[in-house]
Symmetry: C2
Subunit: 238 residues, 2 copies
């Protein structure tokens, strides 16, 4: 029997939609899930997602490498904002990274209701689809959205992942949000960056002068790793 893949468009809906036995793929294309995948691609040892800014500050005081940003501004104590471009091999190789953002890290905490939590982005799309096929579970793709609201870039990515899973013939997608994601992906895939131009978060990043992330966040299959949440830390599987 085929396994089910669902899409959840908002953390606010997740509580009523998820089942404990699902693998949940956390998506925050702009920029948490992309940045986390990029850091692992470049050899980071582990990433600790932190919701609370003060907790992130304490980690910095203890000598950790810290990425922390709120409302488009890097926290004064932090080493980096949360954009993927910060996490080059010379900076992260073999290190522990503390990663704190309002949206993406909150979603990871919420996802922890499920059996397994993994991080998905265009950067590890194909590796992730292959990994999900090897698990023996239904899948739910949890879009971080923005302040609990639907967002385009996460939903389009969800469609890309659903499509890859359906192509393996091991999965079936019946929930309306998965079907809508597939249709949005079909509209976007031939000109992904062009399509995403209209997304609200695209505009916010432009205002914050953080445009450099956009292209990197939409780079396909740069990484073969799957960031998996284990005891509150993200570590790489492949």
């Amino acid at each position: 029997m085929k396994r089910k893949v669902e899409v959840c468009f908002s953390p606010a809906i997740f509580g009523t939609q998820h089942r404990d036995d699902q693998v949940v793929v956390v998506v925050d294309i702009f920029r948490a899930s992309s940045a986390i995948c990029y850091a692992f691609a470049n050899g980071v040892q582990e990433i600790i997602p932190i919701e609370d800014v003060e907790e992130a500050r304490r980690y910095k005081e203890d000598g950790y490498l810290v990425a922390c940003e709120r409302k488009g501004i890097k926290a004064d104590f932090a080493d980096f904002d949360i954009g993927p471009e910060n996490f080059t091999p010379d900076v992260v190789l073999g290190k522990t990274l503390i990663y704190s953002t309002a949206n993406g890290t909150k979603t990871i905490q919420k996802a922890a209701l499920c059996k397994r939590v993994v991080i998905g982005s265009y950067l590890n799309l194909t590796a992730l689809a292959n990994w999900l096929v090897r698990q023996d579970s239904d899948v739910i793709i949890l879009c971080s959205g923005w302040k609990n609201r639907f967002c385009l870039e996460d939903s389009v990515f969800a469609g890309a992942l659903v499509e890859q899973l359906l192509r393996t013939d091991r999965f079936t997608a019946k929930c309306d949000s998965a079907l809508a994601s597939l249709d949005l992906w079909a509209m976007a895939e031939n000109d992904l960056l062009g399509y995403i131009e209209k997304a609200s978060q695209r505009g916010r990043l432009r205002n914050y002068k953080m445009d450099s992330s956009i292209k990197l966040c939409h780079t396909l299959d740069l990484a073969k790793i799957i960031p998996v949440l284990k005891s509150g830390k993200l570590v790489a599987e492949s």
Copy 2:
């Protein structure tokens, strides 16, 4: 300055998305909002939306005309299930109708946070767009979804309404859910019933043998009235 039209894909998101000064359009294509518009088209005097089944039962005991359904089954005490086809002129003309369903009536209660609440469906699409243009407010289209989850038929309708409003040049749509709705509507509009075939609620109605509602719920501009919520009751404006 142009007014804003937004779309909210789930009552679970509404709390963080709405503003009190918006007009909210409640949508539940299968079947509450379609049925309510159809009943007004056929001369119902007023409709009282009721969430609680026991309260609906008490109205019946007091001699009211009652539509009440849960999980695809008409309540034993009720006159009708909640399908629009029940509300023909010979039945509803000049009457007060009690209308109780799990999903749609709950959404109406939630919507009451906003300045004005109106009911939208394909049956009153053009009249509704014209009415919204005449109001001096931003608009939020609240999709009932299903158990707080995203649903296709409501979202596609939201796209149809957003498109009509944009065409008047009085509105602008910037939120991602409005933009996604527009794209879904663009995919669906040339074969609306065909597109909706894949919707989960379409399948549920088939299982309940309630297929007769489908076409009626997608009939364009049958009604020129706008059901407006006033002191807990829906009455018609035009």
